[in-house]
Every structure is written in structure tokens, then in C-alpha cells.
Amino acid sequence: MSFARTFTRSLLSSSPRTLPSNSASFLARPSSLSLLQRQRHLSSESRSKIDNVVNSNPLVLFMKGTPSLPQCGFSRAVCQILEVQGVPEDKILAFNCLEDQELREAIKEYSSWPTIPQLYLQGEFVGGCDIVLQMHQSGELEKMLAEMGLVEEEVAGV
């Protein structure tokens, strides 16, 4: 498997309990919001952090677990599709939403999408597992990834 390395890090909150050593803290801040507040409000601060990360990286995956150790079958499927498509591992920026409860709720609201995984390409929300799988099967995903230079086109001038 080429997903030996993980690029998962904490985006919104840095939970002190089980951050693996390879999870860099990204703009850590204390999580002082109550659970209810977190579920209902996406703070402008969280929104701008997510804006920034999805707009400054070509491929961002919000998932459960890490690419090398997914904790959910749907997240696993998206990682496998990206691998089959030939996206180099260093082009994948993955965030483990299980390690960041604030992000887990914030991303749902940010994308207006109730489930995880969520794939962003060039700042644009692509979809979850079902849609990524459909686009993989239809060839649409390969086309997008090639246009973005995330994979090398095998056949030129299709």
C-alpha cells in the first residue's frame, strides 16, 4: 500500500487525549464550547480555518481514521479510490475527524453535508463516498484529477 504515511492532523481543536505523534496540531485552540453549541454553530473562526485549508490545498479529505488506518468503511473506500486513481500520497491532505470532535461537527455544517468522509478538490466540495465512487466509475473523477495535475494522464489527447 502506498498510503504508508499519514497526513492527518488536527484542524480545529487539539484534543489532549489521544493525538498520535504524527498528528501535527493545526491552529490548536482550547475547546470551550458545549456540545450543543458545537453542533449548532459553525464559528466564523472555524469557517475561515476550513476555508483556508480547502482553498490552499488541491485535495483535502475529511475522514474517519487515517489513510493508512481508516476507521470507517466509507472513508476507506474513498482512500482506496484515490489510490487506484494514482493520486500520490503527498498530494492528499487528510484530517481525522475522530481526533477532532469540533471539526467533526464543523465540517458537516460547513459543507451542509451530514456525513463523513467529505472530499474537497480545489476548494470545492465534491461529495461523500457514494458520489466519489460514482465519479470514479464514470471516469469523471479521473478527468478532474488529471485536469488538476494530481494524476498523470496515461492517454494524451482523449
Binding site: 461529495g127 463516498c129 457514494d130
Partner: protein
């Protein structure tokens, strides 16, 4: 197959009301997911956390997949808030459904 639980029944009713589907099937996949991390954290879930819905509706005609999924997700907004954890959505228009009807569909 056991009888549909209360959540499955609600999903069926809400989707029927919102989409007037020419075909609707719902399967409860929760048992297969009860061991994954978020479900373990909830004691294995309540048996109604993961579903697949396959529906065919005129409302999907001309819409991209993401718009179709958003329609379904919005219809079940309350259910997601109340603990519905995962929903596989297979949303087709009647034309697309006819084109694939001869094939074996999951």
C-alpha cells in the same frame, strides 16, 4: 429479515412524501457497522444507524448527483440530527432507472 424499525419506517414515510418515488427500497445495514469506532463509542449503536436507500424519482431528472444527495439529506435532516449515522444513497431518475432495469441492481 426483521420488521422495519421506527427510524426505517420514518425514512420510508418522509422519502415517499418528498419524492413520490416510482421505486423505493431501504435496507438497514447497521449490524455490519456496529463494530466500527464511532458505533463502539455508542455501545454498538441502536440497530438503526446505517441505511441504504435506493429511490427513483422524477425530481432527480436533470440534477447532478450532489444535488440529488442534498435533496435526500435535507429530507432526513432531523433523522441525521437524531443519530442517523450513515446513508448510502442511490438516486436515479425514471429514465436512468429504465436504462438499468435489466441489470441486476443492489
Amino acid at each position: 429479515m426483521s420488521a422495519p424499525g421506527p427510524l426505517e419506517t420514518t425514512i420510508h414515510e418522509k422519502i415517499t412524501a418528498a419524492f413520490n418515488p416510482v421505486h423505493l427500497s431501504i435496507s438497514n445495514d447497521s449490524a455490519a457497522h456496529r463494530h466500527h469506532a464511532p458505533m463502539r463509542a455508542q455501545g454498538g449503536g441502536n440497530g438503526e444507524t446505517h441505511f441504504t436507500v435506493q429511490l427513483v424519482s422524477e425530481r432527480f431528472e436533470g440534477l447532478r448527483a450532489i444535488a440529488r444527495h442534498r435533496l435526500v439529506n435535507d429530507t432526513l435532516k432531523q433523522e441525521f440530527a437524531d443519530g442517523l449515522h450513515a446513508l448510502v444513497i442511490k438516486a436515479k431518475s425514471p429514465k436512468e432507472w429504465e436504462a438499468t432495469e435489466s441489470k441486476v441492481e443492489a
